[in-house]
């Protein structure tokens, strides 16, 4: 998955608990949300993406 954008969303129990992601080749209109959880492989990809110099936008 090649991440294009990432933005935090705040959940019921915590701020910035999920990340809404757009990625290359994403089916039109679909929505991907990833939990901030070290066991989640998509979240690990987001961390790698950030380590490469990208930024997760703040929640609204």
């Amino acid at each position: 998955m090649k991440i294009l954008t990432a933005k935090y969303e705040s959940g019921t129990t915590a701020a910035n608990s999920v990340v809404r992601v757009t990625y290359e080749g994403q089916p039109s209109g679909s929505i991907m949300t990833v939990p901030v959880n070290e066991d989640n492989t998509d979240y690990k990809l987001i961390k790698e993406w950030v380590a490469a110099g990208n930024t997760v936008e703040s929640a609204d």
Binding site: M1, K2, E9, G11, T12, T13, S17, V18, R20, Y23, E24, G25, P27, G29, S30, I31, M32, T33, V34, P35, N37, D39, N40, T41, D42, Y43
Partner: protein
């Protein structure tokens, strides 16, 4: 003549034939037999065999197969996907099967579930296979490039499967049926993920357009380790193309540390052919069995068993019928309902949620059914999910909420939860 009585008899080859002792013990190709029957080597019995108990000294008789969906039956995400680097890369069709274009490798492949299968039933009888159809060729292979089809096993499953993985006398077998348009040498690799990452590559050869059953036994290694947790433990891969860094320092059948040399996962030997060299190329794979010890016939599980095990890693709600119901809950604002969904089985970890066609659903507030604008994850657990079903307006704070596919045919809404490795 009524009989011949001797104290002991044996074939004059010594231990090569039958040996019967005065105690009534019989050995076949054995040294002095100390139990009633001892056979050194394989035995083939055409009739039914019975015993009070069967106790294998290595491996196990049931649940031998470590991998799921080896017969390529389950395809929750869909049966075909056009893939390329960063496009549908990873898990796109058949459950548990991961197609990886490493380091920006080129080419494109349609990855699909197919019905082309072997007609030799010696190792089991199959209805489906993976088909990889090259749609864009790639002959410019950079050093770090590789295209591999992978199956990834949890660390705890490798830790506890019975493989004495630090013992070089103990083996893990990968057996499968493969077929390709292009003849040549192909490679299968093991790539351990915990501690010092270690790779072991083995070769097999294919004749053009001919199914071949391949059995590869990998020895244990004193440096390999698997944690007792739900993280990735072992990658098992079928190499389709490999650049020079992917086979640097590799000798077939010998373990190599990832950080030796170029720090790339080793997926091949230098003999690996380039399956992506032409758009005429197709590759098929089925009957994949990973097991401890020597290869055995493919272990059949019912479709229901396979599906349930796949759902530890991927679950799809909806998509099967109009008006599928999803979660239920309550309206927390006039534009958002908090919905709860009980997962079908416990997942490996907190899953990602992907919603297809988010506006193809409605959420009920009292007597009003309101079209959704977005569906987003709120809290992800391994057993249940809480998510927001959002609308432009019209919800009533405190009302109960039911989120469901809005009907009217395609496109149907699906909620896909993924906790893959």
């Amino acid at each position: 003549m009524s009989g011949i009585r001797v104290n002991e008899w044996l074939h004059n080859s010594g231990t090569g034939g039958i040996w019967q002792t005065s105690a009534g013990n019989v050995g076949i190709a054995s040294s002095v037999p100390t139990t009633k029957l001892e056979v050194t080597g394989d035995a083939k019995i055409s009739g039914v065999t019975t015993a009070i108990t069967f106790a294998p000294s290595a491996g196990q008789t049931g649940r031998r197969r470590i991998n799921i969906n080896g017969a390529m039956q389950v395809a929750q995400r869909g049966t075909s996907a056009a893939t390329a680097d960063s496009s549908n890369e990873g898990y796109s069709t058949l459950d548990r099967w991961y197609l990886l274009y490493s380091s920006g490798a080129g080419g494109a492949i349609t990855f699909s579930q197919d019905t082309t299968v072997p007609t030799d039933y010696t190792w089991g009888r199959f209805s489906n296979s993976i088909k990889l159809d090259v749609t864009t060729a790639d002959t410019s292979i950079a050093d770090a490039h590789a295209v591999t089809l992978q199956y990834r096993v949890e660390a705890q499953d490798m830790h506890n499967c019975g493989w004495d993985y630090t013992n070089s006398s103990s083996t893990l077998t990968v057996s499968f049926w493969a077929r390709s348009v292009i003849a040549g040498t192909y490679c299968v690799f093991l790539f351990s993920q915990d501690g010092t990452q270690r790779c072991n590559v083995k070769e097999y050869t294919l004749t053009a357009n001919t199914w071949k059953h391949v059995e590869l036994e990998f020895p244990g290694d004193s440096t390999v380790s698997f944690d007792d947790n739900a993280d990735a433990g072992l990658y098992i891969g079928w190499c389709l193309q490999a650049g020079a860094h992917r086979y640097e320092g590799v000798t077939a059948g010998q373990w190599i540390t990832r950080t030796d040399g170029n720090n790339q996962g080793r997926y091949a030997t230098s003999s690996q052919c380039n399956f992506l060299d032409s758009t005429s190329n197709d590759f098929y794979l089925t009957g994949v069995q990973v097991e401890v010890g020597s290869p055995t016939r493919f272990e059949f599980w019912s479709y229901g068993d396979e599906l349930l095990r796949c759902q530890r890693y991927c679950q799809v709600f909806g998509g099967d019928v109009d008006y599928s119901s999803f979660g239920t809950g309550g309206w927390k604002t006039t534009t958002a309902a908090s919905c709860h969904l009980r997962l079908m089985t416990t997942m490996r970890g907190a899953p990602t949620m992907v919603v297809a066609n988010p506006t193809a659903s409605k959420t009920r507030s009292g007597g009003t059914n309101i079209v959704n604008t977005t569906i987003t994850l709120d809290i992800a657990g391994t057993q249940s999910i809480m998510y927001n079903a959002n609308v432009a307006s019209g919800g009533t704070l405190g009302h109960g909420a039911l989120h469901y596919d809005s009907g009217g045919g395609a496109p149907l809404q699906t909620l896909t939860f993924s906790a893959e490795l």
